[in-house]
Amino acid sequence: MAATLLTGNVAAAWGARLARVDYIPAFPITPQTEIIETLGGWLDGGDMEGRMVTLESEHSMLTAAGAAAATGVRVFSATSSQGLLHAMEMIYTVAGWRAPFVLVNVSRGLSAPITLEADHNDVLAARDSGFLQIHCADCQEVVDGILMAYRLAEDPTVRLPVMVNLDGFYLSFTREPVNLPDPAAASEFLPPFDPGMIRFAASAPASQAVAVLGGSPYSYFRYETHLAAQRAVTVYSGIAAEFRARFGRDRGVVEAYRCDDAEVVFYMIGSFATKAREAVDRLRDAGHRVGLLRPRLLRPYPADIIADALQGVQGVAVIDQNLSMGQGGVLHTELCAALYGRPQAPVVLASFIGGLGGREIAPEEFYQMAAVTREAVATGRTPPPRLLYTEDELREIRKLQSIALVERDETSPIRERQQHTGGRDEA
């Protein structure tokens, strides 16, 4: 099939359509809304079968999604940022139900301050929930990732909900050429959902999501969920191999780009990794042995596969498009935890925070992060974490602040009053 130009959002809608989803609980939020509008249009026009219901909140949307999956239909839903946080109670809850369905998250920075553009604090806030996570770097991966996500979620040895993440604006609203799998091939790859015994029917009464009394049964179910999530690394690898055989695209657990003889490797997730890929090529042109390692599967955390890919690498520049306040980058922390104590682990894991709220990461910044990491390898000293911000940016902010201050001085009634009272506020 020839490639079509699709935004990440429309690609996500196509993923759901090709997965022949039965049920779509929905709620609007930028930058995700185009997904549900596209699906709604197809349903209204008879291009697609299924049922879409707009709930009154994401909390309810996730409840309905989990409940429908627990009843035995194939469910798709999508959200972003504040919506994901609003639903957070149910994100944990439906994962605990072992309700298999797919939720697309279109990454967007979290309030406050409120913003629309992308970073990964939203999706990473869900990292401990039991939802598995697939992270996409381009629009093609969005379609492919959703089809694979259903296979993973519905695998009887896994049975967990899966989140497929794409970055707001950078992917959601960016048109890229996408090869849509042929519907027949997609349904061969993804057969209908078989809920097995876990469903609701009058002739087979079931109690789902019941309470437990005490720590022992609680631990039992929590461990079960954890072990199922861990099994998903192997299951995902098998699905990726099959996907490659069928569709010819590599969708492995990690993307290791020019890592083989690399001395320094960028480590990051999402669409900005395509910028890193470009930087790798430029740095290679300049004679530096640099690579990129990008996990597609972040939950379960594929520690062994990541460690293998980093064997022989001296330094890793971990680029976190998220910030755990008072701690630092989440990817950095997790990579340290995964590599600690492994004999062949890289000596330097340098931490960089960047791209928050859609802030650009410029090519020069990639070159500099590589240089800082190379330098650290040479000296054997890990640099302190860096928050990417240029002097120009700071100057721009200061400029805006001064303009706003002048405006306030000229127009504010409080200011006038203060002038009348000689600078003292009236009681």
Binding site: Y23, H59, S60, P205, Q208
Partner: protein
């Protein structure tokens, strides 16, 4: 089960809900649920929100012969939406025989129904969801130790209104809020009036669309009285006019029991520790009068 219930002797004689639950003895909510379940039967899936009744199904046991799904405090009606929609999809696709269909029943406390779950309920009503909502109303957050909720009556002492005047607010009129959505059916019931309850549940069972039930649920633990008095306190709630038994159908509110001679509300209040401060020496009588006045005003509108 299709027999029409007219007299006490028509009430179901087989009891479906299992025994041995961890509810308190004398629990008025469990009393109502027993009766409701007998009428609704086992072809049901109960979608529950956090509250006392959550502990009915504790792994690996359940007193229900049918199905159960625990959700969260705020979103049981949304859980019902997901289950109902999924069942409809399965029926439509021929993947579920119609004999396997289920009545979807939300079961929550007042804390959920009057407060945290109200927006989810309103949404379900907007969408004309085909379900039954049972709110067992014990007039407080029972499971967490009976703090006041917006269903707590004026003057009641709760874990968070221990002062001499009790709870300063007034019980929210959930019946009217629900009825304002124009659902298929809204009714108030109480376990101590089993015939009235069974008639209403039967009527609800055989309708489509949103069918909303509020069951006042005397709660010995939260209301502070001897468990053996539950039925009597329930009867007094109706007789004194504190708990009107009524239903909303086709845009009309009809009272199914109009107490002609109402004993004073203090007959009801005095039986419960949560109101004892209203009768202590030195307490101004205005609180009891105020409660009486409001009940009188209510019935003045009715008759």
């Amino acid at each position: 089960m299709s027999d029409i219930i007219r007299r006490m002797k028509d009430l179901p004689s087989t009891h479906l809900l299992g025994t041995g639950t961890p509810m308190c003895s004398g629990c008025g909510a469990l009393e109502a649920l027993h009766q409701i379940y007998d009428v609704l039967g086992e072809k049901t899936v109960f979608v529950n929100a956090a509250g006392c009744m959550t502990l009915l199904s504790a792994y690996p046991f359940t007193p229900f012969r049918g199905s159960w799904l625990y959700t969260a405090m705020a979103s049981a009606p949304a859980g019902a939406q997901g289950v109902r929609d999924a069942l409809d999809i399965l029926l439509q696709q021929g993947r579920l025989p119609s004999a396997d269909d289920l009545q979807v029943v939300v079961l929550t406390g007042d804390g959920s129904a009057y407060g945290m779950g109200m927006s989810a309920t309103s949404g379900a009503l907007d969408r004309d969801l085909d379900f039954i909502y049972i709110c067992y109303d014990n007039e407080g957050y029972g499971n967490t130790g009976q703090q006041y909720s917006s269903a707590t009556p004026h003057g009641a002492a709760t874990a968070t209104s221990r002062g001499s005047r009790g709870y300063p607010g007034y019980k929210k009129d959930l019946f009217s809020i629900w009825a304002a959505h124009r659902p298929s059916y809204v009714a108030t019931v109480i376990g101590s009036e089993p015939l009235d309850l069974a008639k209403k549940i039967e009527k609800a069972r055989d309708m489509k669309g949103p069918r909303m039930i509020i069951a006042l649920s005397p709660c010995p633990t939260g209301w502070d009285y001897d468990p053996r008095d539950s039925v009597e306190i329930g009867k007094l709630a109706v007789k004194t006019g504190v708990w009107p038994l009524k239903e909303y159908v086709n845009g009309q509110v009809v009272h199914t029991r109009i107490p002609r001679e109402r004993p004073p509300v203090q007959d009801y209040l005095r039986r419960q520790g949560r109101f004892s401060h209203l009768f202590q020496a030195g307490q101004e009588p205005s609180l009891v009068d105020d409660i009486q006045q409001r009940v009188d005003d209510y019935w003045k509108e009715v008759v």
